[in-house]
Amino acid sequence: MTTLDEATGAAMAGAVRPRRFGALYVAEHQLRAMRSYGWTIVIGGLGQPLLYLLGLGLGLATFLDVPVGFGPDGPVPYVTFVAPALLATAAISVTTEEFTYTVMAGFKWRRIFWGMNASPIAPAQVVGGLVLAVGARMVFVSTAYALLIWAFGAVGNAWAVAVLPLLGLLGGLAFGLPLLAYSASLRDDAGQFAAVQRFVFTPMFLFSGTFYPLSTLPVWLHWIGWVSPLWHASELGRAVSYGAPMSGTTVAVHLAVLLGLTVGGWFVARRVFVGRMHG
């Protein structure tokens, strides 16, 4: 007969791999599920930038007489100015789906988080796995964007093509992790996610110096830019892409805000998941 010691030993051994790789298993599951809407991801990832670049680059830009973006050697084309902001927007917009409806589905509609919960996976690893999978999708979308804007000749420095996706990822996480924490705290979707889209994401998109420098806006609207991950990511992107002049302190502040939101969001999200799954 098996003894208790033997069972305890098996339990100790059985949790070694899940404790170490749990987040990867969750990410694997999420990515597998994303395959079922893989085409939406690919077409959205490539189609959306194409539309914006054509529309803004070939259309809107022809009406603009005043240059809005400046590199070290003077004005840059309008498309070059907007491209880093559009890239960051694309990464961030991934989260308005994956860190809202997908989270509600995990807890309530599809209930798959409860399945994970009964396995050796810990709640923090569920958060980790989600972040890994959604991060992968953000890197994919931003890389597609970076390559396209490069093909359009809208990137100042060729090496920026490699750095811009990382900034997209950082911007996406800075916006996404607090959103993830919020979504996980909801028991029902009574229109909150649509409200996030309408009253948080859209105003941020419009007022974060995406299409024109933040300084163009009246001073009383500047705060939107300061709290907006999109603005911080866009500004850094412009510095990387075409060398928009920026002091070291400013770079540090932008990075600090983005990292602060990411890390803060991570801890709060983790708390919410633990409270809900092990309460």
Binding site: A7, A10, M12, G14, A15, R17, G22, E28, G115, S119
Partner: protein, 324 residues
């Protein structure tokens, strides 16, 4: 040698009574003001099939979640496989198979992929997951459905798939929270048959139910729970023996006449219980009671003699029916 008797040759104590895989003492769970589990004591031995029988809201699922190391207890002691769920949750969960009250299969994955993805959570290599998935699909009689979408399965098939998924890690303890609630009788019997097989293989089963027939079919031993407390404990047969008579006579006089008839029946058998729709007379010999009823000049519209069941035990202990 007697259980617990010291071995004459060495200073060791052999225990012939198996060490329990689950031990709970004063286990309590509070949600704010509400006491969901109010201090229960229980032990489950390896290979045993143990049941929690109780009505809605008795605290069965809450107890299962605490044992399953996904709900932190408010107070009391709990050891699962010799470990404390508070500190060794992943370790404990690595040895459990869990069939939750509400299915949580991934409806976006196909049947076989559900098993594979789940196996990965236990750190089982992908190839091995595939091998086990095929084995378990056979066990759950779902081989033809391997590529089907989960949503296209019937309720009984989904339940079987959930059980298959719970077995992917070769669990030492299988926890089943109301495994057959909502299934039709045929699907229930198919499921019971599968669970019987597991029992025969020596898997420890812990299950909750509010069906007495399920408890009688599957449990070696069970506790009757009500309002977070254990009301009685024992094997189905011993519980019936202890808390009920051998037979029950069910008499229906029509809803308005039951009360009046019950008064005249007082003194018959061991005990008379009046329910809104019928009168129950508990007795060793049901036929004899029926004769006495006729002699009293009472004419029930229907009468029936049956053996006592756990339902009667529950009624006796709580004054209420199991299924409201």
């Amino acid at each position: 040698m007697k259980a617990g008797a010291p071995c004459p040759y060495r200073a060791v104590t052999f225990r012939l009574v198996p060490v329990p895989v689950i031990t709970a003492t004063g286990l309590t769970k509070r949600y704010g003001e509400l006491v969901a589990v109010a201090g229960i004591d229980l032990e489950v031995a390896p290979g045993e099939s143990f049941g929690l029988l109780g009505p809605n809201g008795a605290g069965k699922s809450t107890t299962m979640r605490m044992i399953g190391a996904v709900s932190t207890r408010t107070s009391g002691d709990l050891q699962v496989l010799g470990l404390d769920p508070d500190t060794h949750g992943p370790e404990i969960r690595s040895q459990l198979g869990v069939v939750p009250q509400e299915d949580n299969l991934d409806t976006e994955l196909r049947v076989r992929d559900n098993l594979i993805v789940y196996g990965r959570y236990f750190g089982i290599p992908r190839a091995e997951c595939g091998r086990r998935a095929d084995e378990l699909l056979a066990f759950a009689q779902l081989e033809e459905k391997s590529k089907a979408k989960v949503d296209d399965l019937s309720g009984g098939m989904k339940r079987r798939l959930t059980i298959a998924r719970a077995l992917v890690n070769n669990p030492r303890v299988l926890m089943l929270d109301e495994p057959t609630t909502g299934l039709d009788p045929q699907a229930r019997h198919v499921l019971w048959d599968r669970l019987f097989r597991l029992k025969e293989r020596g898997t420890t089963l812990v299950l909750t139910t509010h069906y007495m027939d399920e408890a009688e079919q599957l449990c070696d031993r069970l506790v009757v729970v009500d309002e977070g407390r254990i009301m009685a404990e024992g094997s189905p047969a011993s519980l019936i023996r202890e808390h009920s008579s051998r037979e029950v006579v069910e008499l229906r006089f029509g809803s308005r006449r039951n009360e009046a008839a019950a008064e005249r029946l007082e003194g018959l058998g061991d005990r008379v219980e009046t329910l809104p729709d019928r009168v129950l007379v508990y007795a060793g010999d049901g036929e004899a009671v029926l004769e006495q009823v006729a002699r009293l000049g009472l004419h029930p519209t229907t009468s029936l003699v049956r053996r006592s069941s756990l339902e009667d035990v529950f009624l006796r202990l709580t004054g209420r029916s199991l299924i409201e």
